[in-house]
Amino acid sequence: MTMNKPYMQMKKTYLSLILLCALSACSSSDDNEKKDMTYPEISEKGIVAVPTDCEVFKRGEVIPLNYVFTDDTELGSYNIEIHNNFDHHTHSTSSVECPMDAQKQPVKPWVYNQDFTIPAGQRSFTARHDISIPADIDTGDYHFMIRLTDRAGWQQLHAVAIKIIETSK
């Protein structure tokens, strides 16, 4: 029994289409997210990072934030938070011990909390901002926190101990 040529061609076309549909259905859009099992990185590669542990800044001036963010798949967003460390608490992301002022109660502590979005499709991004230090805040020890989140949802924390001092007169 032999089949005619047009019939065989039609059969091949249908089979190809069905297989193509099946392959498309199985490749979901979030495959990349499921494969991304790596935390993003906050680093100083190729730059002079600011701030770094034990760095001192003056009230009324700026902190020129400078860090490099990388991820093996895609970066997402980051958050910068600054809060006082007048009670000498720790965040255990650094082994560096900085000289600290005596413990004290906050009167007008500086609180900074800002979210930033990284443009889509980036695997490397240099964060560079000038963060103004208010002139009337409590001086003393502070924590500068960077939280970097990749598109998959993995989050990396980098905590830096800094000190804010009086403006020079």
């Binding site: 549909c21 009670d87 608490h89 255990s92 979210d115 926190m145 949802g153 989050q155």
Partner: protein, 139 residues
């Protein structure tokens, strides 16, 4: 006859593919573990409670709520929803750190703090810690 054979072949293919489609569907949601929480600190500090914890949420965090009750858990004194963007829609929170205002709420040492994390699949977990005095890190 050719048509009958062809239709049979297509039906068989349809059955195979329907099984294939269902195995490709996003049934991972049901298997994704609920969030896990490791409580680190729930200290009273000058009219606030300092809450610290580590969170792992394979289904991504969707909602976070802090509740403070008396030691028996029967009377709720404070409820706070945490909606900071940095803590929502993430797989992990290393160093979750939130201050809860308790001024005038009658919160005392020994009360129970509950940290509830719900993920995008609706699964949730609660971390608990009794409230303690602020520790002096220098001692």
């Amino acid at each position: 006859m050719k048509n009958l054979k062809y239709m049979s072949l297509m039906m068989a293919l349809a059955c195979v593919l329907s099984i294939g489609f269902s195995s490709c569907s996003s049934d991972d949601d049901d298997n994704t573990p609920a969030p896990s929480i490791m409580m680190d600190e729930a200290n009273i500090e000058e009219g606030e409670i300092c809450v610290k914890a580590d969170v792992y949420a394979p289904g991504r965090t969707k909602a976070i709520q802090i509740t403070i009750t008396d030691a028996t858990g029967n009377t709720t004194k404070v409820t706070k929803d945490v909606s900071d963007a940095k803590y929502i829609n993430v797989l992990n929170i290393d160093g979750f750190h939130v201050h809860v205002d308790i001024a005038g709420k009658g919160v005392v040492v020994g009360d129970l703090l509950n940290l509830k994390v719900t993920d995008a699949n609706g699964k949730s977990a609660i971390g608990q810690k009794n409230i303690t005095e602020e520790e002096d890190d220098d001692e």
